[in-house]
Amino acid sequence: MAFHDPTAEALQRPAHPDKGRSLWTDARRRFARNRAAMVALVALVLIALFAFFGQLLTEFDGETVDFTLIGVNATQGVPSLETGHYFGTDQEGRDLYARTVQGTRLSLMIGIVGSLVAVVVGTLYGAVSGYLGGRVDGAMMRIVDVLMSIPFMFVLILMLVMFGRSLLMLFIGIGLISWLSMARIARGQTLSIKNKEFVEAAVATGVRPLTIILRHVVPNLAGVVIVYATLLIPEMIIYESFISFLGLGVQEPNTSLGALISRGASQIGNGVPWQLGFPLFFFVVMLFAFFFVGDGLRDAIDPKDR
């Protein structure tokens, strides 16, 4: 940051306003230099393409039962390019490729929705709580503490049992808890941001509290929030998979990676390893990719923070 001589600079620069290099530009550059994160990002893009457009590559859907294959899928339902069942079939004779596409899509969506709720609700809640401070902050954070102390998995399972096992219930359940730790993180950051002089400058100028939160606090939380949101996606996917693994998650004919893995695991003695292998592969690759991208984002956005 050298001191520029304005006149010399004026002579060199074009008259139209030039683009600034925002902190995001720098972060993007640093992220692009991180090989593991870039590979993981590519893997994520491929998985997303697979989840949303993979169905176009096959003539089978995941719901049609092929009765001729029932009971003989260990020999007849083998993964093969000739039959068009790229990933083989399951014990009901349904195409596993189509099932995996469907399951990956659902798992991905659960993760993203949970994470989005966390970003919107958690960030605003935490920012408001931290910025207002005092008693309001105390009360708002006690609520979070209380909610956090409830064993969420237990409650979610109870809800699914009580209100029926619907996809909506699952989304609501995941959305309800995912924002809690985000709110805490956002609040902690807000406490340090609100003592910065640029916030004091805004207060001194007469900017309203809500505008200060939205304009001066939240954008400066964005770094932490993005990193945490990325790491929250795989966490949500794991939660959902666990519930589906217990048989409480998504309902047939819908499916998720967790449900597929659960069924594949139960069939492992019947000589159909592909039924476990393919869903597990996508599950593991997706989780690793999210963790690597999250890690890369953390280093890129706040390089000092290591």
């Binding site: 001191f3 139209h16 030039d18 004091e200 400058a201």
Partner: protein, 336 residues
């Protein structure tokens, strides 16, 4: 004399400092950062405020701007700011602007320079057309010595001096009546300091803004101020027209401050007597009784420990809070 634009009357700011290791119900200790400051400011006048670090200058500025709670009265244009409703107070804020000590920290890193400078305008006049906002921002950037085509840049792309110019532009966009500069050049390189001070002087001459100019030593303040107020531990030590403070200081603390201003000539600088102020600034949590300066004052006597000195009138417009202001001060010289 016209009506003062700002009248500060017995302003006090007390912070609660939680006792370390105390129980939640242990009463916090009281830290009086500003202990009863009063002064008037005429329209267009520049009041310098001097005192070493920790003497409550920033807190005084914050109390006037209203970002920390205070007691006492702050009359702006005859209106008591401390009694206004929050909404009326907010509307009033456009007439008082502030410049901060750390120029980069005072700018939101996620906003462009254009948005930062425009904020007071878009806050108080949200209906201003975008083109007009932009034109005013760019005109102002030019005025404070920044290239107008840098409006879309971000603060971290600028040097400290340039950041301070951005802060100045933001403070000026609404043509305020009062500008509070809290150590605006302390964080800058010496070469840049002069440029920024000169800019402020020019702006003051052109726009006729009243200013409170805070610094921790006299070398900067004496060139820009009409009057100077010297503070120590949140209290007034001396207040006088700038030439009187520099030429005939009456309070021993001011005399030390004057004596510690370096002389630009290196030969004279080496030869001059170098008095030192012994000891440290006492903790504001437990200020000395009587005169707060007595723990470091070479003239201190018993009376100083029991009776806080009132502001004595010692000359035209010149007050000093020292019982023995008319006696010479023995200066302790630094060991060679």
């Amino acid at each position: 004399m016209s009506a003062p634009i700002l009248q500060v009357n017995d302003l006090r700011v007390t912070f609660d400092v939680p006792v370390r290791g105390g129980w939640p119900w242990t009463p916090p200790r009281k830290l009086q950062a500003v202990g009863g400051i009063s002064f008037d400011l005429q329209p267009g006048e520049v009041l310098g405020v001097v005192g070493e670090s920790g003497s409550g200058k920033s807190t005084l500025a914050r109390a006037i701007v209203g970002t920390v709670p205070s007691t006492g009265r702050v009359l702006f244009d005859g209106q008591d700011l401390t009694r206004l409703s929050p909404e009326a107070r907010r509307a009033r804020r456009r007439d008082i602007q502030m410049i901060f000590q750390d120029p980069l920290a005072a700018l939101n890193p996620r906003l462009t320079v254009g948005d930062i400078i425009a904020e007071p305008l878009t806050t108080h006049f949200p209906k201003t057309p975008r083109a007009e906002v932009r034109a005013r921002v760019q005109a102002l950037m030019e005025r404070v010595g920044l290239l107008p085509n840098l409006v879309n840049r971000y603060p971290h792309e600028f040097s400290g001096g340039q950041c301070q110019r951005i802060g100045i532009a933001r403070a000026l966009i609404l043509n305020p009546k009062l500008l509070i500069c809290d150590e605006p050049v302390s964080a800058l390189d010496v070469s840049v300091q002069a440029q920024v001070v000169n800019l402020l002087r020019e702006l003051r001459r052109e726009m006729g803004i009243a200013m409170i100019f805070i610094a921790h030593d006299l070398s900067v303040v004496r060139h820009i101020s009409d009057r100077i107020m010297v503070m120590y531990l949140g209290r007034l030590m001396e207040r006088a027209p700038a030439p009187a403070v520099v030429g005939t200081p009456r309070h021993p603390y001011t005399q030390f401050l004057i004596a510690s201003v370096p002389i630009p000539d290196p030969v004279l600088e080496k030869a001059r007597p170098r008095p030192v102020l012994e000891g440290d600034l006492p903790s504001p949590l437990s200020p000395p009784s009587g005169c707060v300066f007595r723990t470091r004052c070479p003239k201190a006597r018993e009376r100083c420990a029991v009776e806080p000195p009132p502001p004595y009138d010692v000359g035209p417009g010149h007050v000093a809070t020292c019982h023995y202001w008319d006696e010479p001060t023995p200066m302790v010289q630094a060991a060679e």
